[in-house]
């Protein structure tokens, strides 16, 4: 069987998917990055190796996410693509009529506007993570509630408490204040969900014409409270696709199929799960920019370098 591999390396999660020619998802892994992208890529490849080696042919591989370049040189990517394009490709494949994509991950959030099947506009959060999953993670941790239960608790609320949403520091102060006044925990959580939605719509969604069908994806789409908060704020149904948490990886796999288009893939094989990778960084002193160059070696051979403002240290 011919399959295509997509890898999305984000700040919180790393996702690997295998799809076939008809976009059926045969495998979907959602792993925690935990600040170690190389380890988690190898871990994911090991899982796939045990299950699929010698049983399927990998015809193409694509990478996306903030760690896409690193993942790209490790697996031998046929295409390395930004997460906005990857998400748009995946969503328009499963929800062809989509006009608005809301994507919220661990550290970043995006809005993608689509008209007639083509991206016409997009925006990403800038320097603040108040409208992203890390905001919720942090508050869940402080409340000592597992993030997985956060959404269900929010649904039990009938009166959302107003929580400041512009900045996580103010939000936390506000929550503590509300707790000390004796508000119910589920009302506070629901207020938090609304705060995140408000922050998202006022910043990332600013000036955007949000038309249905609206698709919500990324890890935060797992949260039922956030889904309902978006539905209330927008007055629209919110579609959450079956593979909402790995859409970036699916998009990368689809793009890999487009990129290879029957040609031979650059994929290095499942053996990379057993390879030894070393990384190091150094400061280039050739000019006063003093770029910090990051370098990765595979079994002792340099396979990638990044961080330069000029091509001096580029590999191949």
């Amino acid at each position: 069987m011919d399959l295509y591999l997509g890898i999305d390396v984000g700040s919180v999660s790393t996702n690997l998917v295998l799809i076939d020619e008809e976009n059926n998802v045969h495998e979907s892994l959602y792993l925690r990055t935990r600040g170690q992208p190389i380890r988690v890529i190898k871990e994911g490849m090991q899982i796939l190796k045990e299950k699929y080696e010698n049983k399927v042919t990998i015809k193409g591989v694509g990478t996306t996410g903030s760690g896409r370049y690193l993942a790209g040189v490790i697996v031998g990517a046929d295409i390395v693509k930004n997460e906005i394009t990857a998400h748009a490709i995946a969503t328009t494949t499963f929800v062809p009529e989509v006009q608005t994509i809301i994507e919220i991950g661990g550290q970043d959030s995006k809005i993608i506007i689509i008209r007639d099947g083509v991206v016409t506009d997009f925006a990403m959060n800038t320097v603040c993570a108040a409208g992203t999953g890390s905001f919720l993670d942090q508050q869940a941790s402080r409340l000592n509630i597992p993030i997985e239960q956060f959404g269900e608790l929010a649904l039990k609320s009938t009166v959302p408490v107003r929580i400041a949403g512009r900045c996580t520091v103010f939000a936390e102060s506000d929550m503590i204040h509300k707790q000390q006044l004796g508000y119910k925990i589920e009302d506070i959580i629901n207020g938090l969900c609304e705060a995140l939605v408000r922050n998202y719509l006022n910043n990332v969604g600013k000036n955007k014409e949000i038309l249905p069908p609206i698709v919500f994806q990324g890890g935060v789409a797992a949260n039922r409270g956030i889904r309902e908060a978006f539905a209330r704020a927008l007055g629209q149904d919110i579609i959450v696709p079956k593979h909402y948490n790995v859409m970036g990886a699916i998009g990368a796999a689809i793009l890999a199929r487009e990129a290879t288009n029957g040609q031979k893939t650059n994929f290095k094989g499942f053996a990379i799960a057993d390879y030894n990778y070393e990384t190091r960084s150094f400061e280039c002193t050739y000019c006063p920019n003093h770029c910090e160059i990051a370098e990765i070696s595979e079994e002792g051979k340099v396979i990638g370098r990044w961080g330069g403002r000029c091509p001096r240290w580029e590999v191949i």
Binding site: N82, I84, T85, V119, T120, M124, H290
Partner: protein, 366 residues
């Protein structure tokens, strides 16, 4: 008479023509170095926090150059409400406080104050060369600037079409030296022709799908690559042919000659329905050029603005409206010392992808 040592802000390739002109006027030129991270760090350290990126970079350049021994700095003023008009005074105040004894000579646009401009030129002309000599010197170095612009525009055209990534940038860097080293107008003509000939030898695919992207915004962040993270090169490699609204030859002509070039009238006329007033800096130009790019069939626009630049902030809100009315994709970057390159690259790649797919969709409908 002692030979005075002079320097000036670093601004793209134009520094080579500035040097030529000042050497013709009898100065020993202390060349500023291309701005680097160190330059910006120095500027940030001593500049007021909310001054804009060009102010910080230029101050950093001065701080890197003055220790080499400089008597004078020549720089430009600003048009209308733009804060750049104050920068020379602010720079001078900071540098004096730090113990540098340097004289500032500020060139204001002649259309604003012709008599003042003449007086300033005479001050620069401390060796009392004749007017004819000065005219010839200006003419020759102007010709050099035009050659630099012509070659750069050629590179911008070829880069998205190059078969081997980086080949245009490498060759461009090489042929730039031809023009830089040329002195007489005849030599400049020959250098320009040879440079264009060499660029034409680079293997390219002229049939490749390329999107045309206009660039508007504040002059310094448009013209100095180190202030905008080499954005033209980045999107050239992503498959975009860049057309910049601002070249020094155009801007200087529009603010120097009374006759108003046809191009300037067109830009102002295009901006009038949205922004009839001059708001300073290049805010009105940004609007006008955006309209012209739409009419010329461009695929998208990128606006570059220093963080806290009021003219460009005003332009930005109007560009949002223009983008919606004309279904014309516009991406804006506000730049300061905190700007992260990785985030910029992700947005640029997504933007160029957007333009390409939109163009393909349009082509498949016709």
């Amino acid at each position: 008479m002692k030979t005075l040592r002079i320097t000036f802000p670093y601004m793209g390739n134009y520094v080579h023509a500035f040097r030529g002109l000042l050497e013709d006027l009898g100065y020993e030129v202390v060349m500023p170095v291309k701005p680097s991270k160190r330059t910006l760090d120095l500027g940030v350290k001593y500049a007021p926090e909310f001054s804009c990126l060009p102010y910080k970079i230029v101050l950093g350049t001065y701080l890197e150059t003055l220790p080499k021994g400089v008597d004078r700095i020549v720089t430009s003023g600003g048009v209308g409400p733009c804060r750049a008009g104050l920068y020379a005074s602010l720079h001078e105040k900071i540098l004096k406080k730090m113990g540098y004894n340097v004289e500032f000579i500020v060139l204001e646009p002649p259309l604003v104050d012709l008599k003042g401009f003449y007086k300033t030129v005479q001050k620069l002309n401390y060796k009392n060369y004749s007017l004819w000599y000065i005219y010839k010197a200006i003419k020759r170095n102007w010709r050099k600037i035009k050659a630099l612009d012509t070659i750069e525009q050629k590179a911008l055209f070829l880069r998205p079409r190059e078969l081997k990534k980086g080949s245009v940038s490498a060759k461009y860097k090489e042929v730039l030296q031809y023009v830089i080293n040329a002195y007489s107008e005849k030599e400049i003509d020959e250098a320009e022709q040879e440079a264009l000939k060499q660029l034409d030898k680079i293997p390219v695919d002229l049939e490749k799908l390329v999107v045309k992207v206009g660039m508007v915004g504040e002059i310094y962040v448009l013209l100095e690559p180190s202030s905008n993270f080499e954005i033209e090169e980045t999107i050239g490699h992503l498959g975009a042919e860049v057309k910049r609204s601002m070249f020094l030859t155009g801007w200087t002509r529009d603010n120097t000659l009374p006759g108003k070039s046809e191009e300037l009238v067109s830009v102002k006329a295009a901006a009038k329905p949205y922004l009839p007033e001059l708001i300073g800096g290049h805010g009105q130009d940004s609007i006008g050029n955006a309209i012209l790019y739409i009419k010329q069939g461009f695929d998208g626009l990128i606006q570059l603005a220093p963080f806290t630049c009021i003219p460009e902030i005003v332009a930005r809100t109007i560009l949002t409206k223009i983008s919606q009315e004309h279904n014309f994709p516009i991406l804006t970057f506000f730049l300061d010392e905190q700007t992260g390159k990785a985030g910029m690259e992700t947005r640029l790649e997504a933007f160029i992808d957007l333009l390409k797919r939109k163009k393909l969709q349009k082509l498949s409908k016709s």
